[in-house]
């Protein structure tokens, strides 16, 4: 038996023994933190088991608490987890964004301090990039950090900070050097949210939910050990982290791209049949909708294969500018999937609350509104196309 086959069997056995029954059903994913909330006791058990094994971050080095798995081993782990319907034990910006950047740019001491806590879900991280005057033009940011003695004193405002109202710490882009050239005076700083100098105000979205906030810094403090990488060279880290963010977000484009394992019919097509009906030949009755859904499914399939192919090409190298391709396509695809759900469901998808709408229908309506943010967060679709033009196709600036 090959090493990988042995690994597969061991993994299967371990999951069988350790994955609690409740965690083999779909449901919410735990975000950890200093004061974690668990929607079910099994969630806590699952987080502890997976965190101890480092399998919340399977490919990170063992030295810092990660799983130390190779690309192939991780693929097997994911396959075995999905085979029993196991959900992720932990989700967080620490896993998807900060951790990979720390592994690449932080000192050994900084890694020892922060990475094991990400793996075990002990700290909830949020992202302090955008400001009221600096969105797509992120490098124009103006939140200032000044070194006074052994700590940085931070003043300024961030906006659209997802989950700032729950987060324990924030990874922040701050200006520590000159405004011009704008990319050269930026540093990457970790700031504790639990202090008087930090204030957050939730912002309400068109979906009615408040997943993000305004974040105000008034003489907020951060020890100087919390500066990652070199002073004034934080932009390199910022961009790299964005690539990780983009490749993470792009996964949502797979939504209905069924891999042909369980049902041949995509969830989207099933929904279409449910609301629009089928004819005698078991085809979706609304032939125009059927065409649109099939086209969407085909593109999802091609997109899924593309993510797989890019993964194989990069192996352990991590994402590159090609992350912009998947960020752009994945988010546009996710938006179009929800538009098609609305089209299929008619007025049943347009309720805001109460009767006669089912909970599932109301959720779809709200989620549809949420998807509009997909092509904005992490850099807009237009910005992704700019990155592809410039970094991948090498088209010049004017």
């Amino acid at each position: 038996m090959s090493d990988l086959q042995t690994f597969r069997e061991e993994t299967r056995d371990w999951l069988e023994t350790n994955c609690p029954p409740e965690m083999r059903k779909p449901g919410d994913i735990c975000w950890g933190g200093r004061n974690p909330s668990f929607s079910h006791p099994d969630q806590e058990i699952w987080l502890e088991k997976m965190g101890d094994k480092g399998w919340t971050c399977p490919t990170w080095p063992k030295e810092y608490g990660g799983g130390g798995l190779s690309y192939e081993e991780n693929k097997i782990l994911q396959e075995e987890m999905s085979a029993i319907g196991a959900r992720s034990a932990l989700g967080s910006f620490g896993i998807w964004m900060l951790g990979p950047a720390l592994l690449e740019f932080a000192s050994h001491e900084q890694k020892l301090e922060h990475i094991p806590n990400i793996v075990k879900g002990k700290i909830w991280w949020c992202q302090g990039y955008s400001e009221p005057g600096s969105g797509s033009d992120l490098a124009s940011l103006s939140t200032k950090a000044v070194l006074e003695g052994d700590e940085y004193v931070v003043n300024g405002q961030k906006i659209w900070t997802s989950n700032a109202n729950y987060a324990d710490m924030i990874f922040c882009l701050v200006r520590t050097g000159p405004q011009d050239p704008k990319h050269e005076g930026i540093s990457f700083l970790l700031i504790d949210m639990d202090q008087p100098g930090v204030e957050v105000k939730p912002i309400k979205l068109i979906s009615g939910k408040s997943p993000f906030c305004e974040t105000f810094f008034t003489n907020a403090k951060a020890p100087k050990e919390n500066l990652i990488g070199t002073l004034n060279e934080g932009w390199t880290i910022a961009k790299r982290l964005l690539q990780h963010e983009r490749s993470m977000i792009s996964g949502m484009g797979l939504g209905s791209g069924n891999s042909g394992q369980k049902s041949k019919t995509s969830a989207l097509a099933q929904l279409g049949k449910k609301y629009a009906g089928s004819n005698k030949e078991n085809k979706l009755s609304d032939s125009i909708l059927r065409t649109k859904i099939a086209k969407h499914d085909l593109n999802s399939r091609a997109f899924g294969l593309t993510l797989q192919r890019m993964g194989e090409e990069m192996k352990s190298g991590g994402p590159s500018a090609t992350a912009s391709i998947s960020k752009y396509y994945g988010t546009e695809q996710n938006k179009s999937r929800y538009e098609l759900m609305l089209e299929a469901m008619g007025t049943n998808a347009l309720g805001w609350e109460g009767e006669p709408f089912s909970a599932e229908e109301l959720a779809i309506t709200r989620d549809w509104l949420r998807t509009k943010g997909n092509s904005i967060e992490g850099g807009t679709s237009e910005v992704q196309l700019n990155v592809i033009s410039k970094r991948v196709l090498n088209l010049p600036d004017k």
């Binding site: 085909l298 593309t306 196309l385």
Partner: protein
């Protein structure tokens, strides 16, 4: 399943690129077109292709082939799409060989496959009877008479029909037009009495023909496979053909795109290269993204054939759909982004537009495959 070429397949593709760029660049295709070459392709180039082993890639080793599979052939077809070189590769090495490998009797395999692998015998597949792809639209009749069959009817858009040595003909031996049952495949020599083959001149200047059958008499020994059961074989071969053609179309799309990208970096207006204009940059980025998706769909499909995946049918539609959409988009944008020069005959970019539309129609347009995919997915 891996979506990357292995070393052997990559080597084959690299060799093909080198050979074609040197021996059969687009100017070679232009020469054939301008000289109204009677054959429609260069026999000399085909001989060299066969020497490189391309004609026998799908042929079993015991009949003189290499069994390199669709991943191997796909890489080569992609490169032929770049230079638009016409050759019997598609009709013979892919379609003809697949028919014999999948349905031929031992005798037929012995008779045909070695000659096909060496490039000495070419075939054409006579299927369509109308202007839009429909594999069940077969009304050409083959009536049994003793040990013979007498064939009457008309086939259209037969690729390589006028140059092939042997025709593979789908004819009806029972049932009605549009029935899947009752279709029989025949191997018919081009010199058989009663055959009238007329070359068609298509917009892409590639080989195609109309074939008229008037009391064509063939022996029952020329049946490929068994009578009345040709349809499943046709389906399987069509899937391979759709996937192989998608590789070729991907190559054409990549070439048209890369030529356009070069032009964007070269042509100046308003004091800047036109590639600095965001209106063009974003369209280029979208094309690039679509090309990446197409690559994945095509390689996934090639792989599905080699691995004998039970999802091969849907993969074939995925590849042809995506290749059709992308080549359509890129060939249009390529012309537009070249401005006036893009619509001149002297400039090569228009060849991709012309080839695109014909290739899109061959064995099902993107719309055809959207419908087929939905049906195969049970909705």
């Amino acid at each position: 399943m891996s979506l990357l070429l292995n070393e052997e397949q990559q080597f084959l593709k690299d060799t093909a690129k080198e050979f074609l760029q040197k021996n059969a660049p687009i100017s070679h295709f232009r020469d054939l077109r301008d000289s109204k070459d009677e054959n429609g392709y260069s026999k000399e180039i085909w001989k060299k292709m066969a020497e490189l082993g391309w004609a026998g890639i799908l042929v079993s080793e015991k009949y003189g082939g290499s069994e390199f599979g669709m991943m191997g052939l796909g890489g080569i077809l992609e490169e032929t799409g770049r230079t638009l070189v016409p050759s019997p590769l598609f009709s013979t090495a892919l379609i003809g060989v697949s028919f014999l490998e999948l349905a031929g009797t031992e005798n037929q395999k012995n008779e045909y496959l070695p000659k096909m692998a060496s490039g000495d015998l070419t075939t054409a597949f006579a299927l369509e009877e109308g202007p839009r792809h429909s594999p069940v639209n077969v009304s050409t009749q083959a009536k049994r008479k003793g040990k013979d069959y007498i064939i009457n009817g008309h086939k259209t858009f037969v690729l390589d029909g006028h140059s092939a040595d042997v025709l593979i003909v789908a004819a009806r031996t029972s049932g009605e037009t549009h029935d899947e049952g009752g279709i029989t495949l025949f191997l018919i020599d081009k010199n058989t009495n009663g055959l009238n083959i007329e070359r068609t001149h298509m917009v892409d200047s590639r080989n195609s023909s109309e074939i008229y059958f008037k009391d064509v008499v063939v022996n029952e020994g020329s049946i490929l496979g068994a009578p009345d059961t040709g349809y499943p074989v046709i389906e399987e071969v069509l899937e391979r053909a759709q996937i192989g053609l998608s590789s070729e179309m991907l190559g054409s799309a990549l070439e048209a795109f890369e030529r356009t990208l070069e032009y964007l970096k070269e042509r100046k207006q308003f004091g800047s290269v036109i590639g600095s204009f965001q209106a063009l940059q974003h369209r280029a980025a979208i094309m690039f993204t679509e090309l990446e998706l197409t690559k994945s769909a095509v390689v996934g499909a090639l792989n599905a054939v080699d691995e004998n995946s039970n999802d091969r049918a849907r993969f074939a539609s995925l590849a042809k759909f995506k290749a059709g959409e992308t080549l359509h988009l890129v060939s249009n944008e390529a012309v537009q982004m070249h401005g006036g020069i893009g619509v001149t005959d002297e400039f090569d970019i228009g060849f991709f537009l012309k080839r695109s539309r014909v290739a899109e129609q061959i064995f099902g347009s993107s719309d055809y495959h959207i419908d087929r995919y939905a049906t195969l997915s049970e909705y």
